[in-house]
Amino acid sequence: MSDAYTPDDGSGIDATTTPGGTEHTRDEYEPVEVFPTEGMDLRPGADSCYKCSTCDTECPVAEVNDEFPGPKFQGPEQWRLKRNEDTDIDDSVMKCSNCMRCDSVCPSSVPLSQMHNTARGLYVEEQMETLSREYIRNRILSNYRTSAWLASKVPRIANVVMNFGPARWLMERTLGVTAEREFPAFATWTFREWWADRGGPRVPNDEKQVAYFHGCYSNYNTPEVGKAMVRVFEHFGYQILVPEQGCSGTPMFANGMLADAERHAETNVEGLVEAIDDGAAVIASCTSCSMALRQEYPELFDLKGIDDLAANTYEALEYLRINEDLEAALSESEVDSQSFAYHAPCHARNQGLATQAVELFEGVEGVTATDVGDSCSGISGTYGWKAENYETSMAIGEEMFEHMAADEAEVGMTECPTCAMQMEHGTGYEIRHPLQVLEAALC
């Protein structure tokens, strides 16, 4: 395994003194490996946990669901229990929404989400009945790309059928997909169709290239976000590549479908690494996609080039902030007066990107973006689509809904497509992606 957590033990061993006072040089000193290190070794991570329980107080699921034992149990404690080979993974692991907020607060850098992902994968592989309703439903939900691909062939019919009352009633009864939510509309023209139609990149530039990882949602549901990405990056003179790609794997990790995720990862790594070798950086507009490519891929899979991909992937705004003088470019722009209630997705938080959008729009004449607080939206991808999680999901989202309602803005803003769904579901607001606002300001 390529990227199991290893603790920083300082600058290594070059000399040491024993109690007797004898000097040993590095050559003489042979530290003994007590534990085997091949394979994914999560022991150093488990040992780094000093049980301060900070993760438990941060977990949005544990906050509203008393049955859920929290990340400290799901991570280091469950990992230890599992050392006894006859101990099963506790089924509460399926109640973790994979928001990864525990990672963002752990003062000891315990790889909690990696532990949760591996435990969930093991649970699904070894303990879940593949003919069960839950397994079938989770498989369908996590392979959203497949359903979206099908729907995109007949988008108008799909949009009617997917929100047809009796059909939704049946889906809830047979599959446990909540009938409370409205299915997102499928675009009549996908991003890739648009991209092909316009003849690909309009700015040729050997020096500045980016490969766009649009993910499933910008392609099938919100091509306007993909188009905004293209226009903004072309504005700064980038040549854009759109390599072959599958799903990032985010919904599959969250459902423990690691084999499905790895299959898609193979496609993604192959296509994107080729672009990286040609000098391009990889840009995602969805923060969960960039999270998957950067962190979960090297933590969970061992594929050629996967570390290169992790090191060369960026969220769109993040990349521009590092490489362009966005502040200066925006200081000259002006847009019609607009206010946005901004929600930072948990996965943006984990990449250190929770405050960048609000900070950036401070400098744009006419735009007011207010952060509606650091709570989780509650939907966490497929999590809030499951009938049994719907109530929990809405209870978690309550704080965000209240803060959105209290703010004067009546349009929401976020980078994450499913957070956007939840924001819209809870408030009825229209939701924009920061790239769309940037497009309006610059292009």
């Binding site: 300082g10 600058s11 290594g12 900070t54 107080t57 008393d66 003062p107």
Partner: protein
């Protein structure tokens, strides 16, 4: 370079947050980088300056009386009494009536969850009625699921310590259905919302049910201490209602992590940062720098990728050995970002002394600073002209032994923040 500010603060604890605020108040455009969410939730929320007498043993009545006896490399000795007073003044201004203790120089004596008494300079308003210097009969109430606070044991400890009042402890079930290891935040929120509890009879609120259960054990006590979980956002309201129903004063006993008083302090300081226009980024560590005599950029590791952040002035607030601002290995003790000099005995076996409660050399490991908080090299010269160190990354003092952690953070932060802004 795209990301650039006047002042860059590395670290989001008490020292880092207050240094950022001090610099912003000095007119600087400030960015604060924190690797993880603030660790203030691991702190008791008490603000100590100097709790024990450096010359002898036992608690110190007035922290300012102890300053002369401190060694010359102690941050207090380097910065002077005025810096401590400035730090406290900034804190008082930021926290307003949420904290008490500003009316006097003298230490207050706060009973802790272990049943010891901690001399401290500032304390949350929720703790105030519990001070050990009041002679009022006291009942301590613990909860079965909050195992960090054994009320009868804490009461016995306090009695042994010779507090001037009668104190008893009782352990009760917390109202409502909670798992056996429920987090304190859940109970605090149940009290905030006064959630309905259905026991045997008709449903009542969490607060009323709790007061009912405690009333049976009151037996003449004039004040009641609870573990610090009496509400999160509506703490004052919760305490007032409980006091009203019990006919006794109600106070919180500060707890270990995760600590609500620490979380509340974190929230208050985060709001202040926002108010002062400080840009806060959390999630990625600072791993290095570029520069020679000056720090030109600091290097932030963003999930496998290094990104430079520019600044005129840099403030290092990464914490000590526990906070990982100071690291140790077999080869020595070091400051990992800038490689600043950390004075240390050459022989690793001189780092510590055998008795656990001895005066431990390692507890004083950290950077030596000048009167502008700039780290000093091994020849007493300045390491970088534009780098300042604040809080526990500084050495020359033993915060646990002296009970001086918050005071050093506030004093260094105020000086460094102000000086950084002045140098722009």
């Amino acid at each position: 370079m795209a990301i650039s500010d006047d002042v860059l603060v590395i670290g989001g604890g008490l020292a880092g947050m207050t240094a950022a605020i001090a610099a912003a108040r000095g007119g600087a455009r400030v960015r604060l980088l924190s690797h993880k969410a603030s660790t203030l939730r691991n702190a008791s929320g008490l603000i100590d300056v100097l709790g024990t007498d450096p010359g002898g043993h036992g608690p110190l009545a007035d922290p300012f009386d102890g300053l002369d006896a401190l060694p010359q490399e102690h941050p207090y000795s380097v910065l002077g009494e005025q810096a401590i007073r400035e730090g406290l003044a900034l804190f008082d201004d930021l926290l307003g009536d949420r904290y008490l203790g500003a009316h006097t120089d003298r230490n207050a004596l706060v009973p802790t969850h272990g049943g010891t008494v901690k001399p401290t300079a500032r304390y949350p308003a929720a703790t105030a009625p519990g001070l050990a210097s009041f002679g009022t009969e006291t009942l301590l109430v613990g909860f079965e699921s909050v195992t960090d606070f054994d009320a009868p044991l804490a009461a016995a400890h306090l009695e042994t310590a010779g507090v001037p009042f009668e104190v008893r402890g009782v352990t009760l079930p917390f109202p409502g259905e909670f798992r056996a290891d429920a987090r304190v935040t859940r109970m605090a929120h149940a009290l905030d919302e006064d959630r309905e509890v259905r026991a045997d009879g008709p449903a009542t609120g969490t607060r009323a049910t709790l007061a009912d259960r405690v009333a049976d054990h009151l037996d003449g006590a004039e004040r009641v201490g609870f573990p610090a979980l009496l509400g999160d956002e509506h703490g004052e309201e919760v305490r007032e209602e409980l006091a009203d129903r019990l006919g006794a004063e109600v106070f919180e006993v500060p707890m270990g992590p995760p600590s609500l008083p620490g979380l509340r302090l974190e929230d208050a300081l985060e709001a202040a940062l926002h108010e002062e226009g400080v840009r806060v980024e959390s999630g990625n560590p600072v791993v290095g720098y570029e520069g020679d005599d000056r720090v030109e950029t600091v290097t932030v590791e963003r999930v496998h990728r290094e990104v430079p952040y520019g600044a005129e002035q840099v403030i290092l607030a990464t914490g000590g050995l526990v906070g990982k601002g100071i690291r140790s290995s077999r080869s020595g003790v070091r400051e990992p970002i800038f490689g600043c000099h950390v004075p240390q005995p050459e022989d690793r076996y001189d780092w510590f002394s055998d008795g656990v409660f001895d005066d431990q050399p390692y507890a004083r490991f950290g950077l030596r600073i000048d009167e502008g908080c700039r780290p000093l090299d091994d020849r007493e010269g300045v390491e970088f002209e534009n780098l300042r160190a604040v809080g526990a990354v500084c050495g020359g003092y033993d915060s646990a032994r002296e009970k001086s952690a918050s005071g050093v953070s506030l004093a260094t932060a105020t000086v460094a923040g102000r000086r950084a802004a002045e140098c722009l």
